[in-house]
């Protein structure tokens, strides 16, 4: 019975979401895209942050690598983003491996890892700002060539909506599946007790690096979608702290190391933030970030296990499972 719910509920949700474009306005679809993209990115961050327990504060590094790679390749040699996204993913994987190796080899983790990732992302902001080939501070446009599915450019929002819906569904399916496989358990073991994991034959360095690389690849693919959807990127909006903070925020609010937590966090917070942005944005451009800050502080103070964690605790208490 329990197992069925695990399958039925997500499938039902998927059907509802797939039917949304039939009656939704463009604006609703836009919000839908933002929610799904946020859910996708937060789920990707959660692989490393939630399951493997390494909290990156600079995941925009990988978002930017994906976005800039595909956009640059399209601008320079007309390469379709459908292929460019995999080049971006490859770059992100290489950078991710390098960062992971550098940090984890010497046991730099926890606060150290957070410092290093934030510094690296910020370094990219300055680097790209100074690279004229990448558009400098001005950034890059994804040149509009008209409705052209082969080049990942579409009239209207419906196609974008379906693309990010499929990406998110596949990612969630993958996390659901692999969190219950050997690698999933290994990530949790490394997070929970590194020495114990090593003693039990877990290559903790390799597991951490692998988690980082997977997370980096997922994030870079999201970056490509980001660029195609907004058709414009600049160093601050892809490499800056904004995207990094949002990724971790939704994951934390929803529940770290859970399959559905990050998506739930995004579903709850993004519409509110968008409302704040659109209603207060003219007088107060940081409204949604202020909101995020307040939410983050409150969650850390009062429900550090996020929404899913809270529900699980209540559930257990209801069943009287705790002696």
């Amino acid at each position: 019975m329990k197992l069925r719910w695990n399958v039925v509920a997500p499938l039902a949700l998927l059907v509802v979401l797939a039917g949304l474009p039939l009656f939704a306005t463009e604006y609703m679809l836009h919000i839908g895209v933002l929610v799904l993209l946020a859910a996708y990115l937060a789920t990707g961050w959660n692989i490393l942050g939630g399951y493997a327990g390494q909290h990156s504060l600079g995941h925009s590094l990988f978002l930017g690598i994906g976005a800039y790679t595909s956009t640059y390749l399209f601008a320079q040699i007309g390469l379709t983003p459908w292929i460019g996204m995999w080049v971006g993913a490859l770059f992100a994987a290489i950078v991710g491996w390098f960062v992971g190796y550098l940090c984890f080899r010497y046991g730099l983790r926890g606060p150290y890892f957070a410092l290093v990732t934030i510094a690296l992302a910020e370094a990219m902001v300055y680097l790209v700002t100074n690279l004229n080939a990448l558009g400098g501070a001005e950034g890059l446009d994804v040149r509009w060539v008209g409705h052209n599915p082969a080049l990942m450019q579409f009239e209207g929002k419906t196609a974008y909506y379906y693309i990010i819906l499929i990406m998110t569904a596949l990612l969630l399916f993958g996390v659901q599946r692999y969190s219950r496989r050997r690698f999933g358990y290994q990530m949790i073991a490394v997070r929970e007790n590194e020495d114990a994991a090593e003693a039990l034959g877990v290559d903790t360095l390799a597991v951490r690096i692998r988690a980082l690389v997977i997370s980096a690849v997922v994030t870079a693919l999201g970056g490509v979608f980001f660029a195609q959807y907004y058709t414009y990127i600049n160093p601050r909006n892809v490499f800056g702290e904004g995207p990094s903070v949002q990724m971790l925020l939704f994951a934390i609010v929803g529940g770290l190391g859970t399959v559905w937590g990050p998506a739930i966090g995004a579903i709850l917070l993004v519409p509110i933030a968008e409302f704040a942005r659109s209603s207060l944005g003219n007088t107060f451009s940081g409204a949604h970030l202020l909101l995020y800050g307040v939410v983050l502080v409150l969650v850390m103070l009062f429900m550090p296990n996020g929404i899913v964690g809270l529900v699980q605790t209540l559930e257990r208490r209801r069943r009287g499972g705790r002696a």
């Binding site: 300055y126 680097l127 700002t129 100074n130 550090p304």
Partner: protein, 292 residues
């Protein structure tokens, strides 16, 4: 571009001056880490708050920039102590991630509150010191930068003396070394934490007053200085007081000499490259650190 010896000499002098300030900004972060193993990711935003205080006292109140020390320092001590009491202390026993995320949240709040109150404008002061210079041969020393350097060095020295020579300072160091032992020796660790957080923040008040004559203020200014502080503390070895000071000078020199020989803001990239090199070859920082 020609790299004249004068230009290099000039940038070295400027680098040392600025490096002193970087060191002062970073020392508080390192102290807090050393004592309670917390990185305050709102460190830069604390500095931003102090700079606004200094700015308004100078620009609206007509204060002498250096007199603002009398307000910024206690104000930042208070800010640090209050934030510690209200938000960090309740979750001290929690995983370090929770404390990190909490301070990230605080930084978002402070930065965007500044945006509400002061808009995104970049504010600069013109004081009687702003244009003062000393020339030594071809090299110019800007007086406000010299004062900032001397002030930073003095503050760092005072702080070092306080930690080494006073009873409270010793208690702080004892708590940093071994919490249990310190408790057994009768040190009130909770009070020490509060004190360390307050002092670590108060150094930013000093830094703000020293910088206000030659540095602009904006809601995002903390982002830059926070980052500099992160790089400096990692370079110097987290929790290593003297290492932090030297690393501050190194970063100051890197930024300044880099700016002289590289176009645009590429010197910043040089700073980060140095950071990555250190990670590659001396991950414990140039001078060793205390890791959790």
């Amino acid at each position: 571009m020609t790299f004249s010896p004068e230009l290099i000499a000039q940038s070295i002098i400027t680098g040392i001056m600025i490096g002193g300030v970087f060191a002062l900004i970073s020392v508080g972060l390192s102290l807090i880490w050393g004592v309670m193993r917390i990185i305050n990711f709102a460190h830069g935003e604390f500095l931003m708050v102090a700079m606004y205080i200094a700015y308004f006292l100078v620009a609206r109140g007509g204060w002498d920039p250096y007199a603002t020390l009398l307000v910024t320092t206690p104000a930042l001590f208070l800010l640090g102590a209050l934030i510690f009491r209200g938000t960090i202390r309740p979750i001290l026993g929690h995983p370090s991630m929770n404390q990190i995320m909490l301070t990230v949240g605080l930084s978002l709040i402070l930065q965007n509150l500044a945006l509400v109150f002061f808009k995104a404008d970049v504010l600069t002061t013109r004081t009687e010191y702003t244009r003062m210079i000393l020339s030594i041969g071809p090299v110019i020393i800007r007086v406000p930068q010299l004062i900032a350097f001397i002030g930073s060095a003095l503050t760092a020295f005072l702080l070092y003396w306080y930690l080494q020579r006073t009873d409270t300072g010793r208690a702080i160091r004892a708590a940093a070394q071994n919490k249990q032992a310190a408790t057994l020796m009768g040190v009130d660790v909770q009070r020490i934490y509060l004190l360390a957080f307050g002092i670590g923040s108060a150094t930013l008040g000093v830094a703000a007053s020293l910088m206000i004559s030659f540095y602009y203020t904006s809601p995002t200014v903390g982002l830059f200085f926070g980052l500099i502080a992160y790089v400096v503390v990692v370079l110097g070895g987290l929790g290593n007081f003297l290492g932090t000071l030297v690393a501050g000078l190194i970063i100051g020199l890197t930024e300044s000499v880099g700016a002289a020989i590289l176009p645009g803001s590429l010197s910043r990239v040089l700073t980060f490259a140095l950071f990555i090199l250190v990670l590659l070859f001396r991950p414990q920082g140039l001078f060793g650190g205390k890791r959790a």
